[in-house]
Point group: C2
């Protein structure tokens, strides 16, 4: 029986058009990262599963990780996220290098998901992190980096917004005014995550059920309705009942408010929004958390998410090193760019020159000229095999090279050729031995 030609469920074949798009996306991400002085890194495809057990939470391990036992009886997993790997790597070197560390990567990851829009089993995820930056300034930089990456694709604040919250504030609310058991806190976390996907009444009912106290429910409903820095300041004052108001305010709210005022003063007011429903499920976040959100009514979903962590290195027995980072998957990003028509066409290959030859005697010349031009940086396709003009033109129509060169026995004997610019229809008469002129003509054209 013939084998299946389709790729494994939830994975993709990248044919040249799709691959050129992927390369475009990755090169923009890398380019902007380098503009911000972030350095590239990568880690292994497989990690021992303990790394994820310690960092990623049970849900990811039990339901989404591709894990197996290797031939040496080690339990390993295909990386489902990059943060545990980057933490392991930084733990190796953080004592010897000057801080902050600014790192980015674009690894392929796998999760055992039910394939659906925006979600596949194999995907690539841009990751950027800054470790050991002075208080507040890491947050400030990483959010500017996130905005710059989005802008590099032509996106503006009409297309996306960055929704920001702080786990410090969330922790204050849940441990202070609401004061629930850790178990109930966890349930509230999950409920917030789903808030925008359920009717308001259903949400309220579930809040009542989890808190089982109308007063607590009221505070919680008030919390989730907060929408500005002014709001949260008032909310804090109204709900605070401890003994060190100033200190607790500085601890729970000051960093978030500083971040907002800094971003506003740098001109990013229209890109950011406080959103109490952003809590980010993962255990390791301890401070600012954020998501880049699509503003399009038909694609209201997160394109990227991240946050600050104080303690990633603890599991390696290392001293704490605070950091903040985010991940941006190419699948939701591509959906976003498609929704807003921000993707250029990658259907055509970029061939600068097509060389065709009319008889076998011109073959050697065709191949020699092609190599000489390639050495000068010109992208040359040789139409292999002697061909009649009709065939050369028809191939040229299909591939749409910028220039066309046809060689026959006449050209080979006189050394004079006609280099045709197919965009301007200009014809350049050039001596075959004048490779520099050919290169200049082709590279000088637009």
């Amino acid at each position: 029986m013939a084998l299946s030609k389709t790729p494994y469920r939830g994975t993709r074949d990248f044919f040249p058009e799709q691959m050129r798009l992927r390369n475009y996306i990755f090169s923009k991400m890398a380019e902007v990262s380098e503009l911000f002085a972030y350095e590239p890194y990568d880690g292994p495809l497989l990690e021992e599963i303990e790394l994820y057990r310690a960092k990623s939470g049970e849900e990811l391990i039990n339901e989404q990780v591709y894990n197996f036992v290797d031939r040496g009886e080690r339990e390993v997993a295909i990386r489902p996220e990059m943060t545990p790997t980057v933490a392991r790597m930084v733990a190796q070197i953080h004592r010897e290098v000057s801080k902050p560390l600014r790192w980015y990567a674009i690894p392929n990851l796998m999760r055992y998901e039910k394939p659906q829009k925006g979600r596949l089993r194999e995907f690539w995820q841009y990751n950027a992190d800054i470790f050991g930056a002075p208080e507040n300034l890491g947050d400030l930089e990483i959010i500017q980096l996130a905005i710059a990456i989005m802008k590099s694709f032509g996106a503006t604040n009409e297309h996306f917004e960055i929704l920001i919250n702080s786990r410090r504030f969330v922790d204050y609310v849940f441990a202070g005014p609401i004061n629930l058991s850790p178990e109930m806190t966890k349930k509230l976390y999950k409920l917030i995550d789903k808030k925008n996907k359920m009717p308001a009444e259903k949400f309220s009912a579930e809040v009542q059920q989890i808190t089982s106290d109308p007063k607590k429910a009221e505070i919680f409903e008030k919390y989730v309705s907060l929408s500005s820095m002014k709001d949260i300041e008032t909310f804090f004052k109204e709900t605070y009942s401890g003994a060190n108001q100033e200190e607790d305010f500085a601890k729970s709210l000051k960093p978030l408010m500083t971040l907002f005022s800094q971003l506003e003063s740098l001109g990013f007011k229209d890109f950011i929004k406080f959103d109490p429903s952003i809590v980010r499920g993962l255990d390791y976040y301890t401070d600012v958390v954020f998501e880049i959100f699509d503003k399009h009514p038909e694609n209201r979903r997160a394109i990227a998410g991240g946050g600050a962590y104080a303690n990633l290195l603890a599991i390696f027995g290392e001293t704490p090193l605070p950091g903040i980072g985010f991940g941006m998957g190419e699948v939701p990003l591509t959906d976003f760019l498609t929704t807003h028509k921000l993707i250029p066409s990658f259907a055509k290959q970029d061939v600068q020159l097509l060389i065709g030859y009319l008889d076998a005697s011109a073959e050697k010349t065709a191949l020699t000229v092609a190599n000489a031009l390639r050495s000068g940086g010109v992208k040359v396709e040789v139409l292999l095999g002697e061909a009649k003009p009709k065939k050369i033109f028809s191939h040229s129509d299909k591939k749409e090279p910028h220039f066309l060169l046809m060689l026959g026995s006449d050209e080979v004997s006189t050394n004079e050729v006609q280099l045709k610019d197919l965009k301007t229809k200009a014809v350049h008469k050039i001596n075959l031995s004048d490779v520099d002129k050919m290169i200049a003509t082709i590279k000088g054209s637009r």
Copy 2:
């Protein structure tokens, strides 16, 4: 207990220096491929194992493949090579696209190996293939591409050579003059592969044993001593005993001899060598086979290998489409480049401008200028947090940016700054609002 900080056996952490080297290698490979009009593609990390069962041979499956059963009871494998994937992809589309197809990829692969020099469990492998080219011309192009990639790293024919053979010729020898059972043929294949790693007497003894016929052994020993196109022509004539000499010569030797004469006429004589010990173990090769070999006496090993195949699509129930391709692993390539001192230094990050600020009042200006310059394509690192000149200079000495900009309250109030070129020691006085001049100054320098 603290978790291990080391990567999984046979895999690597790519810290920024190593990652910049990897990016350099991959970008050269991609660049040269595009000069030859090859298009990028990629496939999934996992394939169903049947794909490799059908293509790769039992040794790879039983000993080297990372395979496991997924949560849906499918037996899958992490790709150990790219050829089965590219065949599966081409099988989907080859009827609708114009030929030849020229494709390249740089996938990460995994094999369960005992880690040693030049061999790791996770590695990247450049792959290039041309499908459906006219007879001979695909071989000719792919070998030129291989040479061009090597040359792009600064390698010359002093550093490497391309060892070439043809499975058609090998098949002729094994089926004709030597005429062994398929089982013995397999053993001879394996023996040839190991020829350069064993003493001559041991090799002869094993040949005697496998052929169990002094005459056949003599022919075989003669075969492995062949070293030129002239040699093989004579050898063919001396050993031929069939009824259609001319036809069989054309079938078994003509393509190889044509390839050699074409490569020589194009100026690649010093890069190529006939080598009867190159047979390439994989089942799918049917014609020209070759390896790029390091000439350095201390690193005599293959950097890349490939060959022509007539029937890759058969397992998908598709009509035959001949092709030729090769794979080049980054691990042996890096060993080669290191051996010949062809690797530039990637220890330093490329920071074009470092901005430091002396007091908090200059922070906003520093961050604003940084963003403006980044929009103009300048790589800017901001030293986060106010710092004394001494700290800024010490950081600058470590990072070695091209330019340095120090901002204090004076600069912020007068708007006049000194942009220091740390290479030439030139100092450019510029108005802070003249971003274009700053960009031009930084980008115009070398």
